[in-house]
């Protein structure tokens, strides 16, 4: 796949369709991949990579990049195309300035999961069918691929590209995923259990803002939490409940717009399952207003942006909140 992408990128650069390419650049190790912009065939030959660790969703970079001169080639995985569509819908990107090449993804690996199994000194990671072969300074290790699979890919919702100018390989389909299982589990907890769960998770937060800054739905010019005049600007929790507010308010703000790309949880240095907050909103929106997938298209009205006579009554929401 990487080879096909490299030749496609070089071809589109050479024939002038685009003047830059956004993709991924290899790092020091087998896994530390950085989103990067390439401007020449030489740069691409030197550093371009597409492998098991290119999990980063590059669509948010297009907010800035698509405003620059000339077209940019973006390689987007199926889940990334939902983010781009949503950004297009919200007029945050200039879609005309982006040439999307859809690329398949058979799931990305999470190096932190490998490390959490006690594997260290990693010098190489190779996928051999369902088995992962890991070379380390301390010898060879193997583990099932599923054990190292990124959480966002474990509950993949779609292999379908919802926007593209061109595809490499066959397009896939929307998948029946188990992504709401954990949400249901949380819903079935008592309110005290649920409170304890979230307090336990959110109290790990170090307020690094990585979840917000990576989120394709968080594209405010100045976030309310960064604005000294907002009255809620915050860098650290002033009391023990404040970090919860940050995440809850953020979840509210992206409700109906979050495509469930899973980047928030992927980048969290403390492994907080932040995507569960968003999934709760998605699940609720689905049940209250009918199935809706943010980013599936660029024209439909979002349920929370539209009023219809058969909307659920406010009282239903109210009743659901009382246990």
């Amino acid at each position: 796949m990487q080879e096909a992408m490299i030749s496609k990128a070089k071809q589109l650069l050479a024939d002038g369709t685009v003047n830059r390419v956004i993709g991924w650049k290899k790092g020091e190790f087998a896994y530390d991949i950085t989103p990067a912009i390439f401007e020449s065939a030489e740069e691409i030959d030197a550093d371009f990579v597409y492998d098991d660790f290119t999990a980063a969703n590059v669509s948010k970079y297009l907010v800035k990049e698509s405003k620059k001169e000339g077209k940019i080639l973006a390689f987007l995985k199926p889940c990334d195309t939902y983010s781009l569509n949503q950004l297009t819908k919200e007029h945050r990107v200039n879609r005309e300035n982006i040439y999307v090449v859809g690329i398949p993804s058979d799931g990305k690996l999470d190096i932190e999961k490998i490390k959490s199994k006690g594997v260290t000194g990693i010098t190489g990671v190779e996928r051999d069918g369902d088995t992962l072969k890991i070379t380390t300074l301390y010898g060879e290790e193997t583990m099932p691929v599923a054990d190292a699979m990124s959480n966002k890919c474990l509950s993949c919702k779609s292999k379908k590209h919802v926007t593209y100018d061109e595809l490499i390989g066959e397009d896939g389909d929307v998948i029946d995923s188990d992504r709401f299982d954990m949400v249901e589990k949380l819903e079935n907890m008592t309110s005290q259990e649920r409170y304890d769960f979230w307090r336990g998770e959110l109290s790990k937060c170090i307020r690094c803002n990585a979840c917000r800054n990576v989120c394709p739905a968080c594209t405010c010019e100045t976030c309310v939490f960064d604005n000294p005049n907002s009255g809620v600007q915050n860098k650290a929790a002033a009391d023990s409940f404040e970090e919860n507010m940050f995440h809850i308010i953020r979840a509210f703000h992206v409700a109906g717009r979050c495509t469930d790309c899973g980047e928030c949880s992927r980048v969290c240095p403390q492994n907080i399952p932040l995507h569960l907050l968003n999934r709760k909103f998605i699940k609720d929106i689905n049940s209250l207003y009918g199935e809706y997938q943010a980013g599936a298209d660029t024209t439909s009205k979002a349920p929370l942006n539209e009023y219809t006579t058969d909307d659920c009554e406010a009282s239903i929401v109210h009743e659901r909140g009382v246990e």
Binding site: I111, T120, T136, C208, P228, A236, D239, N271
Partner: protein
């Protein structure tokens, strides 16, 4: 050397925690480790490092500086400082132990930061030598030997026993306080473990990373480098690197109105944040490039310029593991050292 069997480590922890608060790195459910207040039965983590560094103990993420009572035109300042109680941090790695001497240079230089000093005076640091360095480790670049960690007292494990040695009076007092649990032990096997670790250290992928191209006299050359644009192009501007870093020490001071008075607190801040240098009439670093550059210039050039060549990095590798886009000080150093 004095030793205790690893099986009896719990007894040592119990004995220590009876007299003072003890913190040890312990594993969480997700496999990551963090420092926690020791409670009987808690197991020492086998992980190389915690996600958050040990700097929290001396420079916590948030702390109250003073309280104010406001009444009409009157202001009353309330000094809320209290003498810290004695505590022990056990299992600190060599990199984090060095970070304390770096933080000392900032907080203990005149005028001394009494909040930091208070904790520093009352904390005993017991370090733990590394036996299984990770690929992200590069403490050797900064002259740190993970098989001979600093700290008030240092420990080594040979797989069966834990050996302990004092590096100063505070460390000796710690050892004396648990002397009844310790016995003299033969270090032959430990020496083998150390030799093996040293062999691995030489094979680490970053073993040859050098600081030769950095330091105070390279200020303008590096500041004006054209490479910052590419290095910073995908930086998200988050504070992950800053907050997991054991040596980052920038802070903000803010006031919080509790409704019953004002609490002035300080909290970690990051030069990566957009409003770090924002004033009422403007901002000197408007682009992420400038903010990104500031962080690395500070560690590699400005800090050594003011501290006899000591760099503001200990090679713990946390930013290598945790940066959401995998951009980090190693990549910056490697890019900048090429002329």
């Amino acid at each position: 050397m004095l030793k205790i069997s690893l099986e009896n480590l719990g007894k040592l922890f119990d004995a220590v925690s009876e007299k003072q608060t003890l913190y040890i790195p312990t594993d969480r459910e997700d496999g990551a480790s963090e420092y926690k207040k020791y409670e009987s039965g808690m197991k020492l983590s086998k992980n190389l490092n915690t996600i958050r560094s040990a700097k929290d103990f001396f420079f916590p993420q948030t702390e109250n500086l003073a309280d104010f009572k406001m009444e009409g035109k009157k202001i009353e300042v309330i000094d809320i400082r209290e003498e810290s109680e004695d505590f022990v941090i056990f299992g600190v790695r060599a990199c984090d132990a060095r970070s304390f001497t770096i933080l000392d240079k900032v907080f203990l230089s005149e005028p001394v930061d009494s909040y930091y000093k208070n904790r520093r005076d009352h904390g005993t640091v017991v370090t733990m030598a590394c036996t299984k360095p990770a690929e992200t480790c590069f403490c050797g670049t900064f002259g740190i030997d993970p098989t001979a960690p600093e700290g008030d007292a240092a420990c080594w494990s040979d797989g069966e026993n834990l050996f302990i040695q004092a590096n100063n009076e505070k460390g000796q007092a710690f050892i004396d306080s648990v002397a009844s649990l310790l016995e003299d032990g033969d270090t032959a096997k430990l020496d083998e473990v150390k030799a093996k670790t040293k062999e691995i250290l030489g094979k680490l992928p970053l073993a040859n990373l050098s600081t030769d191209a950095f330091g105070g006299d390279t200020l303008m050359e590096h500041f004006n480098s054209e490479k910052w644009a590419e290095l910073s192009e995908s930086c998200l501007g988050c504070g992950t690197c800053t907050f997991v870093c054991p040596t980052c020490q920038c802070y903000d001071i803010r006031d919080f109105d509790t409704g019953h008075g004002i609490k002035r607190f300080r909290c970690w801040d990051s030069c990566m944040y957009s409003e770090f240098t924002k004033m009422a009439h403007g901002n000197i670093r408007n682009s992420q490039l400038e903010r990104f550059r500031q962080r690395f210039m500070h560690k590699l050039v400005y800090f050594p310029s003011n501290n006899n060549g000591e760099f503001g990095c200990v090679g713990c590798g946390r930013c290598l593991s945790k940066c959401p886009i995998s951009m980090n000080i190693v990549k910056v150093m490697k890019a900048l050292e090429v002329k």
